[in-house]
């Protein structure tokens, strides 16, 4: 207690070698993650939590699929379409996946133009992303309609295990909800970009904090996450 040790300023902590330096950086005052704003940190942590939700959904689905005693319907057959007289398995899902991954590309471009404060291009690219997202949800709705017409219900289907329909509607429904929310927020933020709210730092909706162009990147984080989740759903539900 008696001895008071004065060490150097916080910059000195960065010069510690190896792990000690990393630990000192993390534990230093004010911010654990330097140069990360509150909003971005919050989005990352939210996505971590959301990852656990999707993981639980997918693990539950896999448990059901592995433990069922009734045969599981063959996804390649169920999700096939007849186009121009040809029977093509998984074609709709392939197109949907392509569209969603393309939307991640336009989103990344929007983030880029956002940081250049190019209002028009940012807003247009965000709207294009939203349009891709809406198309995805529309095709999802088409797929749901088709399956429901063929007799698939949450409680049963003509081809095998009842959990096929339940898992399908639940997982794609939950993911589709995420995409829909993303589309709504994309449009709202594109409007704010267009109006120039972020050039003057007007108080934002939902957070009551002033908004900056960084919000475009935070929106992008969410969008890429939803895209990544789809890749897992695609792999585990359709390709398995």
């Amino acid at each position: 207690m008696t001895e008071t040790v004065l060490t150097k300023m916080v910059q000195g902590a960065g010069r510690l070698p190896g792990w000690r330096g990393i630990a000192a950086d993390w534990a230093s005052d004010q911010r654990a993650f330097k140069n990360v704003s509150w909003g971005k940190a919050m989005m990352w942590i939210f996505l971590l939590s959301d990852t656990f939700i999707f993981s639980c959904f997918l693990l539950s689905y896999m448990t059901a699929r592995m433990s069922t005693t009734v045969p599981w319907p063959n996804p390649s057959e169920v999700f096939a379409l007849n186009i121009a007289g040809r029977h093509i398995p998984l074609i709709l899902i392939a197109i949907m996946t392509f569209i969603l991954i393309s939307s991640s590309g336009t989103m990344a471009m929007a983030v880029n133009f956002g940081y250049r404060q190019d209002r028009a291009k940012t807003a247009i690219l965000m709207l294009v992303t939203a349009a891709f997202g809406a198309t995805f949800v529309g095709m999802q709705a088409f797929e749901w309609t088709k399956l429901i017409m063929e007799g698939v219900r949450p409680w049963g289907n003509p081809w095998g295990a009842a959990q096929f329909g339940s898992s399908f509607f639940m997982i794609t429904g939950f993911h589709g909800t995420h995409v829909t929310i993303g589309v709504i927020f994309l449009i709202a933020i594109a409007r704010k970009v267009w109006r120039g709210d972020f050039d003057v730092g007007r108080r934002g909706f939902f957070t009551s904090r002033k908004g900056y162009y960084e919000i475009v990147e935070i929106m992008g984080l969410y969008w890429h996450f939803v895209d990544l989740v789809w890749v897992f759903i695609f792999a585990f539900f359709y390709l398995w």
Binding site: T2, A27, S28, D29, V36, D50, C56
Partner: protein, 592 residues
């Protein structure tokens, strides 16, 4: 050794976190009702949680009346009894303890203790409370719907949770699930705020290793909650779909009331895994804030630095991480693959190591301290005793061979009430006595407080200690009445009556506490800014109760850890965290 990285004036680090302009309330409504100020939200959370907690307390009286004097009270039937245990458990664990520790204490203490003006996103924080209130109202509404609340037990195991024959099958279970889903959404909005505030909005000089242990406990518990509640969310959604749409996630094909049900091929065990992946971390979501708060109470009221601060931090983090790999010890009798039992028993017993470190450190903090037996200190000491007791029976239940015969007996009830009922409630009460002066500017009455403590502490012991014995006799839990089972001696029945009488007494002593809370608000002795002469930042605010924005014009600068009590040579027996080292040395020079 006091580690002081900043040399007074020359070495103060530049402000990296901008002093963000707050949203200022413009009317009475936005100041006190739809407030974005974390302190108001904290009080709202605490009052709502306490109100619904009182309902759960009354339910426990009704249960005790039935158990102690079976057949005497004609207004309690078997179905109602099941509804009482379900709602009592659910409310106490989730809507009271989780909401009070994280929403109540978290909101009040995090911004003040880390030196922030508010949570990082006050508007989202406000939404969090209103969604929580909605969840509580949906939960409370189940008492008034046809069929009443669900009687499935707080674990809500399918298939019985949604089959006919279980009380509350038509409305209760649906609203229960809806309420849980709302609670999780609301909590997530608040929880993200708490985590980001601790990580990214600390004041200058407030390094992670200078945070008070209260903040460490609440922070770790919030991170855990953000990762554990998703499992409950998914389980609730799937159970809701099973009940509403007739999906078969959890429901096997079975005969219900003589007819084959519509379900087929689901796995009830899947629900148990999801539920306990949430349920076990939940125990520590309640316990870790208690660990943190009690460390600060003991250090402050024993006028001594916490023993092994670093070890305490790592123990909190270690317990948090380990608690995610022990969940199946709740499922030893569920029909799991037997060898999983080895794994889960081992991890369960390993958790005892960091927990024991914490207990030793609390005791070593007390060792040769200048112990002031104030009401918060009494509750902190009560916590150590009840927690050690409940923790030791946890070692019994963590072992598969001991757990199997004790499963579903009163021993389990005694264990978890001791370890996550009584112990955290001791901390909650102690913390209220400790921080009430900061929230209201007045002290709680000491005489009533001591009366409250002794009745609660001794009473809780008299309730739950004999319950272990009942459990060893084989008295089952969740039974409406015991009947004439040959293995239950008449003494067990009189013991049950005794427990009921004590439980009612303890219950009514809480009314004294409530009276104290209200009375002291108007008539309590004015406390001043720092009545306990504590070091942490919340006691150094310019106003008491702290005003909007907490800190007046400038954020405080932190020069030291939170535990500089009884520093030799210092002017007083405590040095606030924001007192610069130059001033300390000058004072030391003057003293010598």
């Amino acid at each position: 050794m006091v580690d002081v990285p900043y040399d007074g004036i020359a070495g103060i680090p530049p402000a990296e976190v901008p002093d963000v302009e707050l949203y200022h309330p413009k009317s009475w409504w936005t100041r006190y009702v739809f407030s974005q100020d974390a302190k108001v939200i904290a009080v709202q959370y605490s009052l709502t949680a306490s109100a619904i907690g009182l309902v759960a307390l009354v339910l426990s009286w009704l249960m005790r009346l039935q158990l102690g004097f079976p057949g005497t009270f004609s207004f309690i039937d078997a179905n109602q009894y099941l509804q009482f245990i379900t709602m009592h458990g659910m409310i106490m664990v989730i809507y009271l303890l989780t909401a009070l520790f994280l929403g109540g204490f978290g909101n009040y203490l995090i911004p003040l203790m880390v030196g922030a003006r508010d949570m990082v996103f006050p508007y989202v924080n406000m939404l969090s409370y209103w969604v929580y209130l909605l969840a509580v109202l949906v939960l409370a509404s189940t008492f008034f719907v046809p069929g009443g609340p669900t009687g499935a037990g707080w674990t809500l195991y399918p298939p019985q949770a949604i089959l006919s024959g279980t009380p509350g099958q038509d409305w209760g279970i649906i609203l229960m699930m809806a309420s849980l889903i709302l609670f999780i959404i609301g909590f997530t909005m608040g929880g993200l705020n708490y985590v980001v505030t601790v990580l990214q909005a600390r004041t200058r000089g407030m390094t992670l290793m200078r945070l008070p242990l209260t903040v460490w406990g609440i922070f770790t518990a919030t991170v855990m909650a953000l990762l554990a509640f998703p499992a409950l969310f998914v389980a609730s959604v799937m159970l809701l779909l099973d009940r509403l749409l007739g999906t078969s996630f959890f429901m096997p094909s079975l005969v219900e009331m003589g007819t084959l049900s519509k379900y087929s091929g689901g796995s009830p065990l899947l629900f148990q895994h999801l539920f306990w992946f949430f349920g076990h971390p939940e125990v520590y979501i309640v316990a870790l804030p208690a660990f943190g708060i009690v460390s600060d109470l003991i250090s402050t009221h024993a006028r001594k630095n916490i023993f092994g601060y670093r070890m305490m931090v790592w123990a909190i983090v270690g317990i948090g991480a380990l608690s995610f790999v022990v969940w199946a010890h709740h499922m030893y009798v569920s029909g799991m693959f037997p060898q999983f039992g080895y794994f889960f028993a081992t991890t369960t017993l390993i958790i005892a190591v960091p927990t024991a470190i914490k207990v030793y450190n609390w005791v070593l903090t007390l060792w040769r301290g200048d112990i002031h037996l104030t009401v918060p200190m009494l509750f902190a000491l009560g916590f150590i005793i009840t927690f050690v007791n409940g923790g030791l029976t946890g070692l019994f239940l963590g072992n598969v061979v001991v757990d199997v015969p004790l499963s579903d007996t009163m021993f389990v009830v005694a264990h978890f009430h001791m370890v996550m009922g009584v112990a955290p409630i001791m901390v909650v009460l102690g913390a209220i006595y400790h921080w009430y002066p900061k929230v209201t500017g007045r002290m709680l009455n000491d005489v009533l407080g001591k009366f409250h403590f002794w009745v609660t502490f001794l009473g809780a012991y008299l309730i739950f200690f004999p319950m272990h014995y009942l459990g060893l006799l084989g008295v089952p839990r969740r039974y409406f009445e015991l009947g004439d089972a040959a293995f239950i001696p008449p003494s067990a029945h009189s013991l049950n009556a005794f427990i009921s009488v004590v439980a009612l007494t303890v219950g009514f002593s809480q009314m004294v506490f409530l009276f104290n809370l209200v009375w002291s608000l108007f008539r309590g002795e004015p406390s001043g800014g720092n009545p306990w002469r504590a070091t942490t930042l919340e006691w150094q605010t310019p106003e008491t109760p702290p005003g909007h924005g907490n800190w007046g014009k400038e954020l405080p600068i932190v020069y030291r850890w939170a535990y500089d009590y009884s520093v030799p040579g210092a002017e007083q027996d405590f040095i606030p965290q924001n007192q610069p080292p130059r001033a300390t040395r000058a004072a030391q020079g003057a003293a010598s």
